[in-house]
Amino acid sequence: MYSLEVADLCKHYTETLLFKDISFKLHPGEVLSISGWNGSGKSTLLRIVAGLVRPTTGTVAMFFKGEAIPKESRRRFVGMVAPAFSLYEELTALENLEFFCKVRGIAYDRKSCLAMMERTGLSENTHKLCRNYSSGMKQRLKLAQALLHNPPLLLLDEPGCNLDSKGMKIVENIIAAQRQRGMTVIASNEKREVDYGDRVINLSE
């Protein structure tokens, strides 16, 4: 029903060319992995797909039942996790989720937020300030935040970063669940995470 079409993406930073001619199509149920050395442009590519960075040339388009989704409403269809993101440190974990529900226009429902935290293994720390979260707990909360609105397109930039083995298992479950419902793009350095993808785009080649 949904689809993502990326055509001829090319990104320059002043003098350097990061990547060029990246094209792919993605449909629900598919998982795409992006790999490459550090600094090869994986995160940049994901940010372009999310609409946070403009590509030098090329287009990113999302379709719902064949109709293009305008850029302004893309936020409803995308959930993203990245190492550079942070949540609000002076709020508790649950308050963070509550905020993102409301801002996204999802009626805030405490139970389902708690269920989401349960799913990411944070149920014992719902009322702790994010400032005091450990690195792995922050990563889990970022995952929870990205899933709040059941996004048809999930962009995971190094999703297993800082996580212990239970956390990795959670990521695996998230990807498996997303495979039932929508599209996933994973950017990672870890072979294990790259292998979740049906297809792999290697930016270093």
Binding site: M1, F85, S86, K102, V103, R104, I106, N150, P152
Partner: protein, 237 residues
Amino acid sequence: MKNGRWITETGSSTYLSEAVAIWLRDLRGEFRTRYAVNAILMFAVTTLIAVSFSIGSFRIGEAEQPFLYAVLLWIILVFSALSGLSRSFVKEEEAGTMDVLKLSARPQAVFLGKLFFNLTLLGALELIIVPSFILLMNYEIELPGFFAAMVIAGGIGLGGGTTIVAAMIAQASARGALFSVLSFPLLLPLMITAIKGCEKAAVGANNPGWPEVRIAVAYSIVMIVMSLFLFPLIWEE
């Protein structure tokens, strides 16, 4: 049906409700870090004391008082505003939460939320500063209604004029010099109007139709409407 939910559900939410969510979050964050709550009072008192000490300790000619006091009041207000208002965006950028916010909120909602927040701050500030200033300086006002309207309209103008500038400086870390260049000419007309208005209110000049208040209101409306249109451009780049 799961997929259907994604599209329809968002329809139920308005710009306003999202803006309110952002406003409330900012308030809560503010309350937690007590960036303002605990200290804004002391801060206002501090400035006031400085001014009243320096001016109050010697006599100013009766005729010059209304004007001088209006100037001082607005300098205090503008300063307090400028020192705090840009924080709401800059903090978002520095804490790394800007990207997530961009991904999840509509630009207009963000602008409105931040504007409400800044207006709340300004309201609190004026509530504390203006009465204490009047008391401490023995500021005699002939037309209290006009004066109050001027202070409120000026406050809204301050918020309207600075919010978008704040968004700009938060984004353009290297182009920072823009801020002083931009915000100063933006606020100056408002400040001059407000000073003039407060002076008239103190003197009790015959002032049908409150032209200064109207100018400040017009200024605020223009600023806010323009910002609503321009903000998405700043926000999404």
